[in-house]
């Protein structure tokens, strides 16, 4: 007994000593890696983009029916690319030699923004590039991603892993269109939300009551919903096309605010699902971090035992959080049908739920962070669309890969580590 317990403290001391040393080393290495990445991006702009451009790049800032018309922005292509690549080189070199330490994340964000601008200047060289339509599409396309991420955040903040977001989106999209065709868009939206809630209830019951592996349930929900919706599409919707023809929510322009150039069309001339996303991001942030319910939810996600001993019902908190999360996911699903095309196609979410999962991780399980991540992913998606239209010689597959690559880089902690809730994915057994 004595022999076993005596060396233990020394061992743990050694471990902590080693770890702090290793951490600083690791930080230096991280700064070096991200510095090199930025220098490479700068080199890419200088050596690949600059020789390929000529003349001016024109960016359209207004659509014809805007109240206030802005002139198109024309910049000399080569000159601006030189400026942008110098900025990247400066940031990269500073990061490599000195490191931005605490500001690294912001600097990296700015750098990737600079690179994105360079990409667009290169693409728009010698032609007109409607920047505004792309920005509007960015906000629209980031909506299901942000809502999917929010769905994951609600579940995972309470300690239940949700990788069934994709299934919840797809289920919401399906019932949204069927009920929407029968009883109108609003009922459709409500049914989509409820469908997400029902799927989440399945997740909650199996995860909380039966303590089944949460990742398995997530996978099952995805397979189940994909199978069910495809089956019902083939059996029912194909034979009764009137069930697959829902009204589409039109964009609602908010007076005055909607007339502001650039910002107006982006944020104040969208469908109610997009507005719903803004409201949900704001309210969930408030609820999670400023209310008693939020504190309890986060406590259960971090340390269920402590929360339990203080009289919080872990099961109840998890049930509620997961069901709310599922409802957000179902609501997001309505975007695909009621918010854009009005009809359902097999597997029409096409992996957006997993990009939402990626946005959740990239945004460090924080609604605002996830929203910003979703904007980046939505931007890459609409850039991809735009490049395909403009016939740009960059394979769109690589742009499509970007969100997934970024997520791997983030979870691997190459540039700053994000930390999930401590009890995420662990079933809780009351003692």
């Amino acid at each position: 007994m004595n022999q076993a317990s005596a060396p233990a403290p020394r061992e743990s001391y050694e471990l902590t000593g080693k770890r702090t040393k290793e951490l600083t080393k690791r930080q230096i290495r991280k700064a070096r890696i991200s510095g090199v990445v930025l220098l490479l991006l700068s080199g890419l702009v200088m050596l690949v983009f600059v020789p390929a451009v000529s003349g001016v790049s024109t960016f359209g800032l207004s659509t014809p029916d805007d109240a206030i018309q802005l002139d198109s922005l024309a910049v000399p292509s080569a000159g601006s690319l030189w400026v942008l690549s110098s900025v990247l080189a400066f940031l990269g070199a500073t990061q490599f030699f000195r490191g931005f330490q605490g500001k690294t994340t912001i600097i990296l964000g700015i750098s990737f923004g600079v690179f994105a601008i360079a990409l667009m200047v290169w693409a728009a060289s010698g032609q007109e590039f409607s920047l505004i339509s792309m920005l509007v599409a960015t906000v629209a396309r980031s909506t299901p991603i942000a809502l999917g991420a929010l769905s994951g955040i609600l579940c995972e903040r309470s300690g239940v892993v949700n990788i069934g977001i994709e299934g919840m989106l797809l289920g919401g999209a399906f019932t949204g269109v069927v009920m929407g065709s029968l009883l109108g868009g609003w009922i459709g939206l409500l049914s989509a939300t409820l469908t997400g809630g029902v799927l989440a209830l399945l997740l909650a019951v199996l995860a909380v009551k039966f303590r089944v592996d949460q990742i398995i349930i997530g996978v099952v929900i995805n397979i189940l919903v994909l199978g069910l919706t495809s089956f019902l599409t083939a059996q029912v919707l194909v034979k009764k096309p009137e069930l697959n023809d829902a009204p589409i929510f039109a964009a609602v322009k908010i007076p005055i605010l909607g007339d502001i150039p650039i910002i107006g069309p982006m944020f104040f001339d969208q469908t109610i699902i997009v507005y719903g996303m803004f409201i949900l991001i704001g309210s969930v942030t408030y609820l999670l971090f400023r209310t008693r319910w939020g504190l309890r939810t986060r406590a259960v996600g971090e340390n269920p035992k402590a929360a339990d001993s203080l009289g919080v019902s872990v099961a109840k908190v998890r049930y509620l959080a997961v069901i709310y999360g599922g409802m957000v996911g179902g609501f997001a699903g309505a975007w695909f049908t009621l918010g854009s095309v009005g009809r359902f196609d097999e597997n029409m979410t096409g992996g957006r739920g997993f990009i939402g999962l990626a946005a959740m991780i990239f945004g460090a399980w924080n609604p605002i962070g996830a929203f910003l991540a979703a904007l980046i992913f939505g931007f890459s998606e609409s850039l991809q669309q735009k490049f395909a239209l403009l016939d740009i010689p960059i394979p769109s597959e690589f742009l499509a890969m970007a969100p997934y690559l970024v997520t791997i880089v983030v979870v691997a902690g190459v540039v700053g580590r994000v930390r999930p809730p401590a009890a995420d994915g662990q079933p809780y057994e009351k003692q």
């Binding site: 990742i215 997934y404 009890a423």
Partner: protein, 383 residues
Amino acid sequence: MTVTQTPTEAEQRGFVQQLTTSVNWRTGLLIPFLAVVTALLIGIVLIMLTGSSFGQAMDAYAALLQGSVGSVKAISETLTAATPLILAGLSVAIAFRAGLFNIGGEGQMLVGGMCAVFVGFSITGLPIYVHLPLALLAGFIGGAIWGFIPGILKAKTGAHEVIVTIMLNYIALRLVDFFLKTELFQREGRNDPVSKTVEASAQLTQLLGWMNPALRVHLGLIVALIAAGVINWLLFRTTTGFEFRAVGANPNAARYAGMSITKVYVLVMMIAGGLAGLAGSGQILGVLDRATPGFSSNIGFDGIAVALLGRSNPWGVVAAAVLFGGLRAGGQQMQVSADVGIDLIAVIQALIIIFVAAPALITALYRLKTPAVSTQISKGWAS
């Protein structure tokens, strides 16, 4: 942190012994059997909900049975569908044993299949006994590389393998789309993404081709069965396999016993990836003869269901794969002759996983007295 699915003694003694011992027959056989039956019953309800009569639902199931075991052709189709499922199931099962959840089967299949197809069409003039193994090896290596990434990231940085493998699935999907449009892969004179055709010397021979050329079951089945045997031997008869299972049961204890967690994670993910890569290669070299976008057709995900139903035991995986192969093959027949969509099979599979993963549902439904232990393999993002 709790890993309740530790391999029981009965499981460690291998499949045949397990069949003969009564200790585990309920969890090993009864629960999976009842899970399948219950899922099929719910399937009937579902068919009837879409406006068919009970008789039509019965007709659909008759077609399902007919299409899976009703004739030599049907059995051949079942085994053809089971072949990649065995390999994909083994891929998930071996990772489960080491406490890892490999959702990356899809991506590993795609990368492995692309490597196999490349070796298959680019090299000419080799005899089949050199070319075919070479193509399979390329497929294994391709999958292993795609499995190496989550393995090394898990070991070195703690990045959760579920997130990394999900992301790698999509990256692989896009890579396949990209490569199928390059000159290197795309078939001459085609604008759509289709690869060149695999040389005859790299194709997996049809096993029953001498009887009837329409019998598609191919040499890949033998490869898959050998793989099951090798994995069974590796897991239960070697030190490496013991280390895999020890790390799966309790990584901390394994570390204090002097095992290298890094080595186990990397090795197990490479083997898992390689097996999925073989599954992809089998589809390419045995069934499709060329690569098309998304040729993995969800087999990587079905592998998860197969591994769960087979209780992560290699021979259990084979049995589960044959069952799911039968469902896949019979589903085709059901769609053609009873006009019930094949997607019903996906629903039935999902229900089977739910019941197998949450046996408490089954024990409650049928009032069994067996203590139900839920499946808990992964450990959440946090740990």
